[in-house]
Symmetry: C2
Subunit: 498 residues, 2 copies
């Protein structure tokens, strides 16, 4: 009986065990543990970390005494028992994992609303420590609370560099600049084993994000691949998924994204993607959020294992449609990125990037950011991290603050309440809070038909200049409010109750 040190609620308890290192421990050795607290028993998978070391990680969600007992087909790893004490969450940014809340929104496990302001650095963990630490320093000052990031490295325009680590032992080095970035380029790996150093590095970066209060939306497969990671056989795919989940699920800030642009992976069937979802769902004891991102063809987000809709689209008004269609939160992870590259998806202005966030917001959803400016060293934030070159980030910080001051229950589209007689999108909570956004429209005044007998305080928001100007007169049914008649204005109405 081993007595562990204290572990914070939603922190990681890690059991390290020495075991067999002969043969192929990745496939030969089975290891799991059951963690028990009062009436609850949770079984989690362990994993082989190389050099004869095995680990079992566990994220306790309830303060108090937890006990555990391992089971394994290796005697050295079997029947190991112990206890540890879980203390209440106390460290900064620890609100537990993010869950779906109120059908269309998100909240941390402790009930704190989570207002998603995402960004994208697909391959940031494959760039070496110097650039990765610069990325973390940038994130520390940035407004983002979610990062879309791939497990595997990326092969694409601007992405010809090789990572320091590969997830499987390298047998034959191939080309870094094949004729097409997603054709096989002569690389060979030992698919029967994993490379623990790769995953230790990935975990370190997920932990770094956790310290910054940033959710890691971990993309498990993607088609931009010259190494063969998108062409593994089904058995390897499944073993890979279980290994990633065993290693990473105990990180409270993990979300699972089955794919970036699943529909471009031409060798996979829809049944493959369904299976991946089920494996992750079955292996992850904590039920982290699960989604899948598309390019042209949307996956059926109504399937039970999808927790929220991860969308690529430029028309943010559609968010309200998708919400109703699947009754799940909508995150438009890709709506084009601020930048100046030739690619259509990577050259909108900062104004347009910010406009799309606000449009998504007033249609009841959440939006993702990216930054794609040409760079002499090909260091583009969207793939590699580094520094932000665009103008949107401070405006997204401003939006995030407004969202965090908005109703905890979330902003629901209120199109048919009659409050906006001139047909602008409006979201909020009826009789309490209304947010409307005018985008490229610039009315010089606006009437609000708030419910009869209620009184509201109005604030005019300049989403680009980042100002909030209170309106002196209270707003009642039929009130007109004078507006600055320029683009990118929003208006908040807050119920006055005295």
């Amino acid at each position: 009986m081993q007595v562990g040190t204290d572990v914070e609620q939603w922190g990681i308890f890690e059991l390290e065990l020495a075991g067999p290192d002969g043969g192929n421990p990745f496939q030969d050795v089975e290891l799991s543990a059951v963690f028990t607290h009062k009436h609850r028993a949770i079984e989690v998978d362990g994993f082989y970390d190389g050099d004869g070391i095995y680990r079992v990680r566990f994220m306790p969600d309830t303060p108090g005494t937890w006990s555990y007992k391992t089971q394994s087909n290796a005697r050295a790893l079997s029947e190991r028992e112990g206890t540890f004490n879980c203390t209440a969450a106390a460290s900064a940014c620890n609100h537990g994992p993010v869950r779906v809340a109120n059908t269309y929104h998100f909240a941390y496990a402790d009930g704190t609303p989570y207002k998603q302001i995402g960004t994208t650095c697909y391959a940031w963990t494959h760039q070496g420590d110097e650039l990765e630490e610069q990325t973390l320093a940038t994130l520390q000052e940035a407004p983002f609370n979610k990062m879309r990031m791939c497990v595997f490295p990326k092969s694409y325009d601007f992405n010809h560099n090789e990572p320091e680590f590969y997830p499987f032992p390298l047998l034959v080095r191939g080309s870094s600049d094949p004729p097409h970035f997603w054709e096989p380029a002569g690389w060979e790996f030992d698919w029967s084993r994993f490379e623990p150093a790769f995953f230790r590095h990935l975990e370190q970066r997920v932990g770094d994000l956790q310290k910054l209060g940033i959710e890691a939306d971990i993309i498990l497969f993607h088609p931009y691949d010259r190494w063969g990671f998108i062409r593994m056989d089904a058995e390897t795919d499944d073993r890979y998924l279980r290994y990633v989940v065993a290693r990473l699920a105990a990180y409270r800030n993990v979300w699972w994204s089955m794919a970036n642009e699943w529909d471009l992976a031409r060798n996979k069937t829809l049944a493959d993607w369904d299976r991946y979802f089920r494996i992750v769902q079955e292996s992850d004891p904590y039920d982290h959020l699960r989604s899948i991102h598309h390019c042209f063809v949307m996956y059926d987000h109504s399937k039970s294992w999808v927790t929220h809709q991860s969308v690529q689209h430029s028309d943010l008004a559609q968010v309200a449609v998708w919400r109703e269609q699947h009754k799940k939160p909508v995150v438009v992870d890709e709506c084009c990125y601020e930048g100046n590259i030739p690619h259509r998806w990577g050259n909108i202005t900062g104004e347009e990037m910010v406009r799309r966030f606000w449009e998504g917001t007033v249609h009841g959803g959440y939006v993702g950011h990216g930054d794609t400016f040409l760079d002499p060293q090909d260091i583009l934030w969207w793939a590699k991290g580094g520094v932000l070159r665009g103008q949107s980030a401070p405006r997204l910080a401003f939006l995030r603050r407004i969202l965090e001051e908005s109703p905890a229950a979330g902003l629901e589209p209120l199109k048919n309440t009659g409050i906006m007689p001139y047909w602008f999108p409006c979201a909020g909570q009826e009789h309490q809070y209304y947010l409307t956004y005018f985008g490229v429209h610039r009315p010089s005044r606006m009437r609000f038909d708030v419910p009869e007998g209620e009184q509201y305080r109005a604030e005019i928001i300049d989403t680009w200049e980042m100002t909030a100007s209170p309106v002196a007169e209270p707003v009642v049914r039929g009130s007109w409010v004078e507006l600055p008649a320029k683009p990118y204005q929003a208006l908040i109405l807050r119920r006055q109750t005295e």
Copy 2:
């Protein structure tokens, strides 16, 4: 036998006859004439113009000698014969009526391409001479070659004034400011007769537009009505249509628009709208263009009597879809107007108005303009005319010049030709001319995959600053062109052949 004076090709020959003025000549007297040139015989309806005067108007389309012979149930109007000489078109702006050309485009009868840059002053002919003449003076300096205008006056926000003339004799004056602008407001008319002064005034204004080279897109019905013109019985509707056609069809610049927002006229059925189309089609000897404009529900533009699609929509990329759907030209008559009023459709910026014109253009269609700025006297261009307050008009003049210098055959969407590897919309004529537009996107460079072995001259167009900057290097397959990396840029490639 009467011998008339010379009439220019596509001008108006008018036969004036004295006839009975007792009873109700509008309903009792039938009058038509057959006009003959060589083997052709064209029958046209005459009309009663009040005070015992009857008229038959005819637009000859072929130079040479034409003869005519009337028929009527009134002896004084029957068997009247004569000839006149039609001379070749010579006056400025006389290219004949506009027709559909090359499936998706328009041309005048003489073959000159017609590149539609429309505007909207729904009720401009109901404002009195002073304002109407100001409108004409504005139009003289403006880029527009089409005007959307209603026969009937308009009842709506900003439109509470009464017209000088009503189309039917007024019996009981009603309210100018009813509780809702489209509810009946106590007006009564003698529906069995027309008011010739009303129609003479309308004709005068259509003729004024003709002198300015502006097509009159005449809206025959619309729901914004407090007088009852949208609630006439079917017999009156049909008599009204035949009367309007008899009076106006000889004006070469007439287009027929069955409705503004047909789907908002709650008392009419789809069968009514079909019948209106058929009556106009059968009565108009010149087969002027026919369309119908919607608010929410599109009419089926594939019906044979629809010559082109008149659309209300904000997403101009859909133009390419509607083109393919119905194989007819697309004119997005309403995509929101430049202005600052509260109404969502009337407060976009000049930049956005111009952007929508260019988006419609590169998707193979044509777009309409409007100007809606609050005014202390409620004189908004979109309804009443007057002066333009927006910034888009000079930019639309610049676009019109570019269109008039583009291939006569029209700009076809060339999405799948591979010329734009980075997926921007492109329109033109293959192997000859390519126009691409970047809108809110602002790439800093762009590659063009023009056909192998061909060479092009490139010109960078700043659609807002109205500059065209030639690129020094010729463009061949795979050429990169440096761009200014700001919004609202376009690029033209013209084939070099020497």
